[in-house]
């Protein structure tokens, strides 16, 4: 019975992973390795104040989120679970590629560290921003309020909420345009995201894409060992070149969680483990049971749920954890 791992996107400023780090020698060892790849200390990765400068800050945040996601993966492996299919959104897509065997960890973290050198926007450039758009199910066929709006782009689709009443989409663009759109829309329909000052998954991210492209072109991608689902279109990334193409386009192209979980349903996934805090529990509607894993106690819950659902374990003990 297939087990799917979903990795969320987005980069927050909050400390993440502290409880897992403190509870597990395995996680502490992992963070030491990541320190070696990135030049950041474990403390900086876990809870350090993110550095100044938009791209440096973003880079450190991506390292923090990716470290946590891989730590959760490793703890689940220690506890007997390994994914049969993986997929992720945005940054999570790159983490999923790594854990699917399409890219080694050192290469992934080296790339994330390198993005700190991406050029910041010119001082006179328009401020960027992001927003969530809540579309009522009854309005699904109507033109969305951002259609035709200058400097606002559809950046993502999270699909229907748990009760099916509305669908959550993500917008990116110029902050002023997004705030105008929010003010002109019904209350609560467009919600600007605080602290998100990079218009990811939109054409505004083109300079970053051009910066990282030469590095991505040299990265040692390989064929994924397990099914790896794209977040940029519906389908599986089956070759090293397809994974590289996803890395190249990831920063500018819209993302879709629906494409990932529908793909997992096509793979007959019976339990989805949502890795890290990027996709909060209880908001979205998934076509299979999910367990959200971000704290030590969630590891046990994930393993216990897998057992109850008849999902076999992957093998022998790798040590003890979480007594």
């Amino acid at each position: 019975m297939p087990l799917g791992y979903l990795f969320g996107g987005g980069v927050g400023t909050e400390p993440h992973g502290i409880e897992l780090y403190e509870a597990s020698p395995l996680v502490r060892q992992l963070y030491e390795e990541i320190s070696g790849y990135t030049g950041l200390t474990a403390e900086q990765i876990l809870r350090g104040e993110l550095p100044e400068g938009r791209e440096r800050r973003q880079s450190a945040g991506t390292i923090r989120e990716t470290a946590l996601a891989i730590a959760v993966h490793d703890l689940l492996a220690e506890a007997g679970l390994r994914p049969d299919v993986v997929g992720g959104l945005s940054l999570g897509a790159m983490t999923a590629s790594c854990l699917a065997g399409a890219l080694d960890r050192k290469s992934l973290f080296t790339m994330l560290a390198r993005t700190a050198d991406a050029p910041d926007p010119r001082p006179d450039a328009a401020e960027e921003g992001m927003a969530l758009a809540f579309v009522q199910a009854a309005d699904a066929q109507s033109p969305p309020p951002w259609q035709g709006a200058a400097d606002v782009h559809l950046a993502g689709d999270f699909g229907p909420v748990a009760d099916g009443s509305q669908r959550i989409l993500m917008l990116a663009g110029h902050r002023a345009a997004i705030e105008r759109l929010a003010a002109d829309s019904p209350s609560g329909a467009i919600v600007p995201l605080p602290g998100r000052n990079i218009a990811v998954h939109s054409p505004l991210r083109r300079p970053f894409r051009d910066f990282i492209a030469p590095h991505v072109a040299k990265m040692p991608f390989t064929t994924p060992r397990i099914p790896l689902l794209s977040c940029l279109e519906r389908g599986e990334l089956k070759t090293a070149d397809e994974v590289r193409d996803m890395f190249e386009r990831n920063s500018t192209d819209p993302i879709s969680l629906v494409d990932i979980y529908e793909g997992m349903r096509d793979h007959d996934v019976r339990l989805g483990l949502v890795m890290g805090p990027a996709i909060p529990e209880g908001i979205l509607d998934f076509p299979f049971p999910v367990v959200h894993v971000e704290k030590p106690e969630h590891i046990q819950l994930a393993v216990s749920t897998a057992y109850d659902l008849g999902i076999g374990f992957s093998g022998g003990d790798l040590g003890t954890w979480g007594h």
């Binding site: 019975m1 969320g8 987005g10 909060p280 908001i283 049971p289 046990q300 008849g310 003890t320 979480g322």
Partner: protein, 369 residues
């Protein structure tokens, strides 16, 4: 609700012995009248439940003023922690002669002290009659050989051995499973030992299936899945399987039916406090509905952020269970499950469908990115 057949007390109902007549009478009961009967018996100053009488002083209302089932929300969510500390006998009205003789059953306990409740013979009979009703409804024939491979000991599911034998003329073989040991192994990060213990159980099951001419297997979904993986030919040879204890979703049910290759697949939802019967799903598929063992057990699907408010039919929410036995009153147990509210024209109360572990929104949607 509104159907009345003039049933004054639960005792009168339980005096009936024919299981089919009993179920028919239960389903015809007026839930409001039943509620008044149980609440007044529970709170009788002389013969009521010591536990509830001790709580009466702290209630802001007179329980005798409760006249309708929906007014039971006045009692608030039942504090399950009380069932870990109080004497189970104190839940039982003193009208039941002391000292009590019989069985105390556990629920939970995989991660700490279990909740404990005492079952009177009438309560055990109620459960058994509904189980038999399900057997008949699902197509399990009487007089067959069963293998029960479930938790036993303190777990009420183990009482199924007697239920099958006594009310469905079954010859029952049994294998014990210890779910607390499994959870402990998981907690200690010992997946290989979980697999080893599961293999130990599956070996016993296959041995019994090979040696004893078993028609029907009664077990948990997890063990049945393990058996399907390791011995599919033995599963396909079964005349049927009955599964309960943990969640069964539509995909699992579809798998189990396919593995049984035409054999019966019966399932139920519930726990030590109360159960709900499976009425079947359309051939075209869909979510799995369950209807409670009315009127002693009722279920409502309520808003996750407001346990007093029942959701619209078909909408999702948290499962709220109420137990109204003559000798056990447990109103408003908020289960750690969510479900869709299900209505069935043939059933006098709400049911639940698409049951799965409860998920509470842990952050605002803005946390999505």
């Amino acid at each position: 609700m509104g159907r009345r057949v003039g049933l004054a007390t639960g005792t009168e109902i339980n005096d009936v012995t024919d299981p089919d007549v009993l179920v028919s009478k239960w389903l015809d009961a007026d839930i409001d009248e039943w509620t008044r009967t149980v609440v007044r018996r529970t709170f009788d100053a002389d013969t009521g439940s010591p536990y509830w009488l001790s709580r009466r002083e702290r209630l802001a209302f007179d329980p005798y003023d409760i006249t309708r089932h929906e007014e039971l929300t006045a009692f608030g969510p039942f504090p399950l922690a009380d069932l870990r500390s109080v004497d189970p006998a104190d839940l039982v009205p003193r009208d039941v002669p002391r000292p009590l003789a019989g069985r105390v059953w556990d629920t939970g306990g995989t991660t700490g002290t279990p909740c404990r409740v005492y079952y009177t013979p009438a309560m055990l009979h109620h459960r058994a009659v509904w189980r038999r009703w399900s057997f008949v409804h699902e197509g399990f024939a009487p007089g067959r050989r069963w293998l029960q491979a479930t938790p036993t000991g303190p777990h009420l599911i183990g009482h199924g051995v007697w239920e099958v034998a006594d009310l469905h003329a079954g010859l029952v073989y049994a294998i014990d499973m210890d779910p607390r040991w499994v959870k402990r192994l998981i907690r200690e990060g010992r997946p290989a030992d979980v697999e080893r213990y599961t293999g130990h159980l599956v070996d016993q099951i296959t041995d019994a299936l090979d040696q004893r001419g078993i028609d029907y297997l009664n077990t948990t979904p997890a063990l049945f899945s393990a058996l399907c993986r390791s011995a599919p030919e033995r599963v396909a040879a079964l005349a049927g399987a009955r599964l309960s204890g943990t969640q069964i979703n539509a995909a699992m049910y579809r798998d189990f039916r396919a593995a049984l290759n035409g054999g019966i697949c019966g399932i139920s939802y519930g726990n030590t406090f109360g159960n709900a019967a499976f009425l079947g799903v359309p051939e075209s598929g869909g979510t799995i509905p369950y209807m409670p063992n009315y009127p002693q057990v009722t279920m409502a699907v309520v808003r996750k952020d407001d346990w007093r408010t029942v959701v619209a039919p078909g909408a999702n929410g948290q499962v709220r269970l109420t137990v109204l036995h003559d000798d056990l009153f447990l109103p408003n147990i908020l289960e750690r499950d969510q479900a869709a509210r299900h209505l069935d024209a043939e059933w006098p109360c709400d049911g639940v469908a698409d049951v799965r572990p409860l998920q509470i929104a842990s952050a605002a949607p803005e946390g999505l990115y």
